[in-house]
Amino acid sequence: MPKHALTALALCLGLAAPGVAFAEWKPNRPVEFVAAAGPGGGTDTFARVVQSALSKNELLTTPIIVSNKAGGSGAETFIYAKSNKGDPYKLYFGTQDAYVLPLANKLSYGLKDLTPIAAMVFDPFILWVNPKTSGIEDVKGFIAKAKEAPGQLKLGGAKAKEADETLMTLIEHATGTDLTYIPYKSGSEAAIQVAGGHITANVNNPSESVEQWKAGVQKPLCVFESERLADTTVIADGQSWHDIPTCKEAGIDVDSFAQPRTIWGAADLPPEALAYYTDLFTKAAAAPEFKSYQERGAQIPRLLTGDAFKDFIKKHEASYAEIYKRNGWLRAEQ
């Protein structure tokens, strides 16, 4: 279909010269932000922070409505996107789930039904334990404990066959241990289970456990990044985010495993709208509300738009597909 090709061309042009090649497009009615998570979830908070950054700084003057479609681990959001092809008034907020979910589950949408707009920030992952109840103080202790009794060390995380469980299988693979994964509804729930001493360890984003760390019922062992986190403000035990070793230097050979916070449009999003939103979210990422959200969550400030984002998606999806293949999680047809 030549029209399609034209659109694709236009898309590329739009990315090359945002806001120049096209007549100014501006939303003239309410814009809906659909979050692929329930109220209070990580993606929901992300969408609402962006909403507050946009409306407080008057970057977007039409009303913004945040709605949640958390069903099917967020797949509902992207299926909804498929049914709203070309609608520039609906944006979809997620993580890597947008392209990872179809790997394991038979779903009626695919990456072709979405237009990537931006990855605004990356959430690092940290390995946590409760030092008091588990007696584990560092990564060495963790590995020793895991080797002592294969399958006995219980590690919690959010949901099954998603980022958290994937990361656990990477830890197993890298250290040659056998852990038992226990899925909870959310990362904070898993954190509380560790704090209460019901399970040994959990992996999650910094913000989900920072309060438990301050209260002394959780301790970070290592961060799954290639470099240490930047923030040097002391948080608890005289330590800052920067003092947490990377997992690689501490003895778990897992490189960067950050989770992008992504924004999507439906397929066939008009190029002028794409250009407008790319510009808009670039501005939003610099807003003070967004900056303080980044700091609170010890996130990695890395904004990806246009081709850079597309390349990232391609690589990230491939790496997930490889891990899924190793775990035997890929859905039947592949």
Binding site: Q51, G72, A160, E289
Partner: protein, 511 residues
């Protein structure tokens, strides 16, 4: 006494004209939201959230919690007047509230509900005030096995409660479990019972089922019965309200029992919905007037309302202290806290005592304001009932259809609700009890998740359910509740059996 001093500081924060205005506004908005099914408290709170970005956190949380109180009260209103629970937690209120309203005593039913709800809420806040530091530590002791034990107790209190055919009770409850299963399984990540339909991947919303089974089902029944809507006789009399308020203390035993259940379920992960059901079931069993439950018995309104609201208030404590929201509404508020730059968690009490205690103080004020405002609306609602059913019926239908749509903005949900409407109508005519269905649907998947998490933790050993004093006690209590009907049957011997049998069929018909 440390808590008391801090509470006084809290009152100093909450009792400004500015904050009182916010409370009144919040409660009124909450009432509107609560009355419309589909626009529940979580919607309301998330819609107000953007407004709060520019407020200071204390005013913001007061606005949101006041809205929450208003929505809780509003939810009971439609339960009583139209048999449509505006909130999941007010389903149990329909069991006696709606029959009482149908007998022409809508004003009395509403007043009883609001007054006991207010008492429940204030008890809940009192518990928070006195036990705040203890509760946070206590809640940490809840692992998957303990979660399961809490749900088990709620189920156990309900088994054997409903009269009528045990087969129909079984079918109704199991259908509830099946409905709760639809969607993606938390533990395995697989989709279950979706048959590869996109529409089912998000699961079947509880609200859709309730709008159909209760709301539309009841409309069909009323239509068939020849538009006999007894509310027409409802008298607008202020004295009715005063008399009903004065009536509430008479049910002190039910009040105390329900408030205790509510606080317990609010602190533990049971939540308001489970609390109201459990309180209703236990009220039916232990109250002297228990056998009148289901036919418009005042105690059948007092029991679930008190428990619902005390649980609703208590549930805010785990949210603040642990960052684990007890309900969907609490989850939205928690999101708010984070956007305002506060982190819910164990340290919040020491880092921002002004915020925490200001909030607790506002809970006292907010609930008192909510009770007063909501009582003032009783004559208005009683007035609505005086309109002929040929007018009110279609209006309720429209409200139901919009409600079903707004749950997730799916037209499919509207069709689903219509389907549930027919099921509700047929089931009611055939004396299938609906309460077990609703309870199973609310708690079914949670109980299953907790059970399977516990089994994973223990490597498949069921001993985990008796592994410590707390969980063993709860499981023991649950088993005791479960065996109560059998025990009482054994004690009474053969005498009770034929009498029960005779009573079962005609009684159920009229309910």
């Amino acid at each position: 006494m440390g808590n008391f001093g801090q509470l006084m500081d809290g009152f100093a924060v909450a009792l400004t004209t500015h904050h009182l205005m916010i409370m009144v506004m919040g409660v009124l908005l909450g009432l509107v939201v609560g009355v419309l099914p589909g626009l529940g408290a979580p919607n309301g709170v998330s819609l107000l959230l953007p407004l709060t970005f520019t407020m200071d956190p204390i005013s913001a949380i007061i606005l949101l919690t006041s809205m929450y109180w208003g929505a809780l009260f509003g939810g009971s209103t439609t339960s009583i007047l139209f048999n449509i629970p505006g909130e999941p937690s007010s389903v149990a209120t329909t069991f006696d509230g709606y029959p009482l309203a149908k007998q022409g005593q809508a004003a009395r039913a509403l007043t009883l509900a609001f007054t006991s709800a207010g008492i429940g809420a204030l008890t809940g806040v009192l518990v928070i005030t006195l036990l705040s530091s203890w509760v946070a530590n206590f809640a940490l002791r809840f692992g998957a096995a303990e979660y399961f034990a809490v749900y088990f107790m709620a189920f156990a209190s309900f088994i054997g409660m409903s009269g009528g055919s045990p087969f129909k009770t079984l079918v109704s409850m199991m259908l509830g479990f099946a409905a709760a299963t639809v969607g993606i399984d938390t533990i395995s990540g697989e989709s279950r019972l979706t048959f590869e339909l996109d529409e089912l991947i998000g699961g079947i919303s509880f609200l859709i089922a309730v709008i159909g089974l209760f709301g539309l089902g009841e409309l069909l029944l009323t239509m068939e019965e020849g538009l006999k809507f007894e509310g027409v006789k409802a008298r607008l009399d202020i004295r009715v309200i005063a008399r009903a308020v004065a009536e509430v203390p008479r049910y002190w035993a039910t009040l105390i029992r329900s408030a205790l259940i509510g606080c317990w379920m609010g602190i533990t992960p049971g939540g308001p919905t489970a609390a109201s059901f459990m309180s209703y079931a236990l009220g039916r069993r232990f109250s002297r007037r228990g056998r009148f439950f289901g036919k418009g018995e005042p105690e059948g309104i007092v029991a679930p309302e008190t428990a619902d609201h005390s649980a609703g208030s208590c549930a805010l404590l785990p949210m603040l202290a642990l960052g684990i929201p007890g309900s969907a509404t609490a989850a939205v508020m928690m999101g708010g806290l984070m956007i305002w730059g506060l982190s819910p968690g164990p340290m919040l009490f020491s880092t921002r005592p002004d915020f925490v205690w200001g909030l607790i103080a506002s809970m006292y004020m907010g609930n008192v304001i909510a009770v007063v405002l909501v009582l003032a609306t009783v004559p208005l609602f009683a007035f609505i009932l005086r309109a002929p059913f040929t007018v009110v019926g279609p209006l309720i239908t429209v409200v139901c259809v919009i409600g079903a749509y707004t749950v997730a903005n799916h037209m499919f949900d509207v069709w689903l609700a219509l389907g549930f409407g027919i099921v509700g109508y047929v089931f009611k005519k055939l004396d299938y009890p609906l309460a077990p269905f609703v309870l199973a649907m609310v708690l079914g998947d949670k109980a299953e998740d907790a059970f399977r998490q516990a089994m994973l933790t223990s490597d498949g050993s069921p001993a985990i359910f008796f592994s410590n004093g707390l969980v063993a006690t709860m499981m023991g209590l649950g088993l005791l509740l479960l065996s109560l009907p059998v025990l009482s049957l054994l004690l009474k011997g053969g005498r009770a059996a034929p009498k029960n049998d005779a009573a079962a069929t005609p009684e159920g018909r009229s309910a």
